[in-house]
C-alpha cells in the first residue's frame, strides 16, 4: 500500500499594495521564502510513525502536477496551516473524487477541527504521535474513523517518540532542515495559535535525541542550515546550556526562535555564538512596554520590555544577529505606532526586522475576543491569515490607517539604505569578535 504525504508551505500576501512592495523592497520577502523552502517536519514524523509494510512518498504541494496528473496513492495525508487550508481542501476534494481517502492534519486542523472534518475522510488533531499507527490499522481494516486525537503531551517519551524520516529528503534540493527541540511555549501569548493547540504543556526533547537527529540530518543533506522548529528554544537555561555545549562539536549553522530572556546569561550567549547560531528570532511585539499589558497570563512580556534595547545589543555583540518581530494593530496601538517602531529599530540596530499584523487565528483567545466584540471583518478569512493582511477592526485606528501605516513602515525599514545601515552595524559587531 502506498501513502502520499503532501506538505503545503509558503503564503501569498493578498493585499495588492503589499504584494507589489515585496517585489521592490529587499528583505521583505526573505523570511517568507525561507519558510516556504523548509520541508515539513510534521510529515517526516508521520512517515516515521508509518509501519514498514506501507510505502511512503513525501511531496511538496507546489511541485505537484495538474489535477489530471496527480500521483496515485492508496491513502493521502495533507498537512497545512491556515493560510493555505482552502488549497488543501481543494486538493483533498480532488483525491476523494478519485476514491482515494484523505487524512488532514496540521495546525489549522487543530484550530478548526469541525470544518476540517467536513473536508476529509479523517483528521488528526494535535501531534500524530500516539495515533497514526492506529489510524493506518483502521484504514487497512476499512474502518477509518472521522477524527483521531493525537498526543498532546509526552511526545518525546520512548512510548511516543520517533526519529523523523530525514532519509526521504535524500537527493532533493533542500539546503535548510528543521529539527525540533521543544514543543509549545509556556508564555501563552493570546494571539499565538501554536502553543495552546498542538500541545497541552511545554515539552522539551532530551538533548541526546536532538543531537542524534542533527547528526542523521547531516548525513542526508550536505552542509545544511538548521532551523529549530520551536516556539521558544531557550526558556529553560539549564537545558539550553547542556544542549548548546553538545552543539558546539557538531559544526553546524542554525536559526531558532526564543524570547528576550536569552540575553540574561552570558554563558548562553557565548555558547550560541560558539555553536554556530546565526540568528535568533525574538517576538518583541511592540516597542512600547505598556502595549504588552495583558498579552500573557502573567504579563511576562510586559515585565521584560524595559530591557529590550540592552538585551538586543548584548546578544548582537556576541555575534548572533537578532530578528526582532513586531505585531502591528495591538489594542493599545494608535496611528503613532508606526513611527515608534521605526525609531526603535533604528536605535536598537536590529540586523533584521519582521513586521506583521495582529492576526486572529481561529481557535485562539484573540479570535474569540474580537468575534465577541464584533471586530472581525469576516468570520472566515483563512486565505488572509498571512500575517500581513488585516482581518479585524483595530481599536484605535481604522483598517485603512493600519494598512497604510504598515505599508509606510515597510518602506522605512526595508529600503536599501536602512538595510545597509543595519548590515554595517552588524559587520562592525562581528569585526570586534574576529581574531586576527
Amino acid at each position: 500500500m502506498k501513502i502520499g504525504l503532501i506538505a503545503m508551505s509558503g503564503v501569498r500576501v493578498r493585499t495588492e499594495a503589499l504584494g507589489k512592495m515585496g517585489i521592490t523592497l529587499p528583505g521583505f520577502v526573505n523570511r517568507g521564502k525561507v519558510i516556504a523552502s523548509l520541508p515539513s517536519l510534521g510529515l517526516l514524523t508521520v512517515a516515521a510513525l508509518t509501519p514498514e509494510e506501507f510505502d511512503v512518498e513525501y511531496l511538496e504541494y507546489d511541485q505537484l502536477p495538474d489535477e489530471g496528473a496527480l500521483p496515485d496513492f492508496d491513502l493521502v495525508g495533507i498537512s497545512s496551516f491556515t493560510a493555505r487550508i482552502n488549497a488543501a481542501y481543494r486538493l483533498s476534494a480532488m483525491y476523494r473524487k478519485r476514491g482515494t481517502p484523505v487524512v488532514l492534519g496540521g495546525i489549522h486542523v487543530a484550530l478548526a477541527p469541525d470544518e476540517a472534518q467536513a473536508n476529509a475522510d479523517a483528521i488528526v488533531i494535535g501531534g500524530a504521535e500516539g495515533v497514526w499507527p492506529q489510524l493506518l490499522e483502521d484504514f487497512k481494516n476499512g474502518s477509518l474513523k472521522p477524527r483521531y486525537q493525537g498526543a498532546m503531551k509526552d511526545v518525546f517519551t520512548p512510548e511516543n517518540y520517533v526519529f523523523p524520516r530525514f532519509d526521504l529528503l535524500e537527493g532533493r534540493e533542500y539546503n535548510r532542515l528543521t529539527v525540533q527541540t521543544s514543543r509549545g511555549c509556556p508564555l501563552r501569548c493570546d494571539f499565538c495559535a501554536a502553543s495552546m493547540h498542538i500541545t497541552s504543556s511545554f515539552q522539551q526533547k532530551p538533548v541526546e535525541l536532538v543531537i542524534r537527529e542533527i547528526e542523521a540530518a547531516k548525513q542526508v543533506i550536505d552542509n545544511p542550515f538548521f532551523e529549530f522548529a520551536d516556539d521558544n528554544s531557550f526558556i529553560n537555561k539549564k537545558w539550553s546550556k547542556k544542549f548548546l555545549r553538545r552543539l558546539v562539536d557538531l559544526d553546524i549553522r542554525w536559526f531558532t526562535e526564543t524570547d528576550i530572556s536569552v540575553a540574561e546569561e552570558d554563558e548562553v550567549l557565548d555558547l550560541l555564538a560558539e555553536s554556530g547560531c546565526r540568528q535568533i528570532l525574538i517576538g518583541l511585539e511592540s516597542p512600547v512596554g505598556k502595549d504588552l499589558d495583558g498579552m500573557n497570563p502573567n504579563n511576562w512580556k510586559l515585565k521584560h520590555a524595559d530591557h529590550y534595547l540592552e538585551a538586543i545589543d548584548k546578544i548582537q555583540s556576541h555575534g548572533v544577529s537578532v530578528n526582532g518581530c513586531f505585531v502591528l494593530g495591538l489594542d493599545n496601538h494608535d496611528a503613532t505606532i508606526f513611527g515608534k517602531v521605526r525609531d526603535f529599530v533604528e536605535k536598537s540596530r536590529l540586523i533584521e526586522v519582521q513586521i506583521t499584523v495582529m492576526t486572529p487565528f481561529p481557535g485562539t483567545q484573540l479570535y474569540e475576543r474580537l468575534k465577541n466584540e464584533g471586530r472581525l471583518l469576516q468570520d472566515e478569512y483563512w486565505d488572509r491569515c498571512t500575517l500581513f493582511d488585516v482581518n479585524f477592526h483595530p481599536k484605535h485606528m481604522t483598517v485603512a490607517e493600519l494598512e497604510s501605516g504598515m505599508q509606510w513602515l515597510f518602506g522605512e525599514l526595508y529600503n536599501e539604505s536602512a538595510f545597509q545601515n543595519r548590515k554595517r552595524h552588524f559587520v562592525n559587531y562581528m569585526k570586534e569578535r574576529i581574531a586576527i
Binding site: P224, F225, S321, I351, N421, R424, V427, I434, I436
Partner: protein, 94 residues
C-alpha cells in the same frame, strides 16, 4: 575609508609570498570551513557554499578585519563571487 595596514597584512597573510586573491581565498576557507582555493573566481559563493545573509556579513567582517579595509556599505551583502570581492578590494587597498 580605513587606511591599509601593511604590517597587519604582512603578519597574517605574508603579502610577500601571496597575492590578494590567495589571501582572500584563505580567509573565505577559514571562515566558511570549506576549501575554496580551487573554486572558479566567478562562482556564486552564496549558492556554492549555501551561505545565508548572516554568513555573508560574517565573511565581510573577517575580510575587513584581517585585511584592515572597509568595504563600501552599498556592497554589503552583494559580493557573491571571489571576482567581485577582488574588484572592490582593488579599489580599497592602496
Amino acid at each position: 575609508m580605513e587606511k591599509y595596514n601593511d604590517e597587519n597584512w604582512l603578519n597574517n597573510y605574508g603579502r610577500d609570498e601571496m597575492n590578494t586573491e590567495t589571501a582572500l581565498r584563505n580567509i573565505i576557507s577559514e571562515i566558511t570551513k570549506r576549501d575554496v582555493s580551487a573554486v572558479d573566481a566567478g562562482v556564486d559563493l552564496v549558492d556554492y557554499l549555501a551561505l545565508d545573509s548572516i554568513d555573508g556579513l560574517r565573511l565581510v567582517a573577517a575580510i575587513e578585519r584581517k585585511m584592515n579595509v572597509t568595504f563600501p556599505d552599498e556592497t554589503l551583502g552583494k559580493l557573491h563571487t571571489i571576482q567581485g570581492m577582488l574588484r572592490v578590494l582593488e579599489e580599497i587597498l592602496p
